[in-house]
């Protein structure tokens, strides 16, 4: 405990006291878990009949193939487009030409401040509905614009995080602006940005669930289909959905941490906040 600013390394009496607290809280936590389980059991929520569909091959397949795979597809498609969007607008925000800079900043700030669901509904009811491009691409487009705007910020920060001497050295040997960007700054910035891009996948993946509102395919769509077919199994379905999302996201987080260690090293992860403040952290839900 010596690593904490909040308290000193505990002495023997404090250690004993902490041990008591640990025991008490463990008992309380266990009691709470048992209480919830007993309550759910008394409500019949734990009955096998309510969970049977999740071990039936037909439904498991629907959940994984039509649900999870579609969700992953939507998330990754939108992240790929978002990276492109982010590169274009991130570079735009670093442009030497003021109008370009301002226009890019305006676009980026706009899409960062607007809720994804609002964007999604607008896109779907404007161009997606009827003969339009449908709910799937409405979700992808909305997520592209939102995550692209966030990634543009990440990208800009990534380019700025490359030591200044790199660009100066490039100019010194007679490189042009584009050459410096493409051959010197970008390759180094991408390395720094990689963990942030992977973390953004988690955000995109979670936001694909909003497709539920415009009846887009994906996990939440299958979830709704399942609790419609088996009335009263909302709890079970939600637990399974949450489990799938958490599993994928934890894997992504582990990959992001690994990439961070492997390619970026000890330096702090690149973070972009929502406000114009000095220190920033990307804790945005």
């Amino acid at each position: 405990m010596s690593g904490s600013v909040l308290y000193d390394a505990p002495g023997p009496r404090t250690v004993a006291r902490h041990r008591l607290y640990t025991l008490l809280t463990a008992v309380a936590a266990l009691g709470a878990v048992v209480g919830v389980v007993l309550f759910l059991d008394s409500e019949g929520e734990l009955a096998y009949a309510k969970w049977e569909q999740f071990v039936t091959p037909k439904y498991v397949e629907a959940l994984l193939v039509d649900g999870l795979v579609k969700t992953l597809q939507m998330a990754f498609t939108s992240i790929v487009f978002a990276v492109l969007f982010g590169v274009v607008f991130g570079i735009g925000k670093l442009s030497d030409h003021r109008p370009v800079r301002w226009l890019c900043a305006l676009v980026v700030e706009f899409f960062r401040a607007v809720p994804v669901l609002l964007l999604m509904i607008f896109i779907f009811y404007s161009w997606g509905i009827g003969d339009g491009f449908g709910p799937y691409w409405s979700v992808v487009l909305a997520l592209t614009l939102y995550n692209g705007a966030v990634l543009a910020e990440v990208f800009r920060a990534g380019v700025l995080a490359v030591p200044k001497g790199q660009a100066e050295a490039g100019y010194a040997i007679g490189m042009r602006k584009t050459q410096v960007m493409m051959q010197v700054l970008l390759p180094q910035a991408v390395k720094i940005m990689l963990p942030a891009i992977i973390s953004q996948c988690v955000v995109a993946l979670k936001d694909t669930s909003l497709g539920y509102y415009i009846v887009a395919p994906g996990l939440t769509y299958i979830g709704k289909a399942m609790w419609t077919e088996f009335p009263g199994t909302h709890l079970q379905t939600a637990v399974v959905l949450a489990f799938l999302y958490i599993a994928v996201n934890v894997v992504l987080t582990v990959i992001a941490t690994w990439v961070q260690r492997r390619f970026v090293g000890e330096r702090k992860p690149l973070e972009v906040g929502m406000t114009a403040l000095t220190t920033q952290a990307s804790t945005a839900p």
């Binding site: 405990m1 690593g3 904490s4 600013v5 909040l6 308290y7 505990p10 404090t14 902490h18 607290y21 640990t22 809280t25 463990a26 936590a29 759910l40 409500e43 929520e45 706009f110 401040a113 607007v114 809720p115 994804v116 669901l117 609002l118 509904i121 607008f122 009811y125 404007s126 988690v202 979670k206 694909t208 669930s209 909003l210 539920y212 509102y213 939440t220 979830g223 009263g232 909302h234 709890l235 379905t237 939600a238 959905l241 949450a242 999302y245 958490i246 996201n249 934890v250 906040g273 929502m274 406000t275 403040l277 000095t278 220190t279 920033q280 952290a281 990307s282 804790t283 945005a284 839900p285």
Partner: protein
């Protein structure tokens, strides 16, 4: 567009609901998040584990699934049956935002360097004095920016409860978009500006707070 302006009270009412959702869920998330952060930096290992588990689980679950738990699953088991939708929305958004608040606060505590606390101990400050005069002021200041980001994201996230029948700004935009298929862009921009104003207000408050708490270094 005339349809929107002749029913502008509906727009204002919708944003009022969004503001209510944001304020109440923000308060709930701050309380719960502070508790989680305290558990995570505290000395009791079971509490640390519990808080870390909650943070991992909730941070990786979409808000929509959280809402399914609160709006559909809980009433099935006889919990939250007669609760107003606003309260359910606040519970869902609050529970969902709390771990992000906890992370922001923890980030603030971690920003205080160990030497600060050691120096305080060296001049014989008690634990309470150390907290009050040295650690917490610095921790709060360092957590303002991430906290502001979290609250802004939360304000935008209140739009998700539109899916579950609350007539807040996003649901109201859908209503107008459905009625005026030719004016969708203008309607969207109008509602977007509403959200941008809310976001900017939080952002300005954060900048003001940080300036006020800025220490001479």
């Amino acid at each position: 567009m005339e349809d929107v302006f002749s029913h502008f009270d509906l727009v204002l009412k919708a944003f009022w609901l969004t503001v209510q959702l944001a304020v109440y869920s923000g308060a709930a998330a701050l309380v719960l998040g502070t508790a989680l952060a305290a558990m995570r930096v505290g000395p009791v290992s079971v509490l640390r584990g519990l808080a870390a588990t909650y943070v991992t689980l909730v941070r990786n679950t979409p808000l929509l699934v959280m809402c399914v738990f609160i709006f559909f699953a809980a009433p099935n088991t006889g919990v939250l049956t007669g609760t107003p939708y606003l309260v359910k929305g606040v519970i869902a958004v609050g529970l969902y935002t709390a771990p992000f608040v906890a992370e922001a606060l923890r980030c603030g505590v971690n920003a205080v360097t160990l030497g600060q606390a050691k120096a305080a101990r060296a001049i014989a400050m008690t634990f309470a004095q150390n907290m009050r005069h040295v650690v917490l002021p610095q921790a709060f200041r360092a957590s303002v920016p991430p906290l502001a980001s979290t609250l802004i994201a939360m304000t935008k996230n209140t739009s998700v409860v539109a899916v579950f029948g609350l007539m807040e700004a996003t649901a109201r935009m859908r209503y107008f978009v459905n009625r005026n298929a030719d004016d969708t862009i203008l309607i969207f921009v109008l509602f977007a500006i509403g959200y941008i104003i809310l976001v900017e207000l939080i952002s300005l408050a954060a900048v003001g707070l940080e300036r006020r708490w800025k220490a001479a270094r």
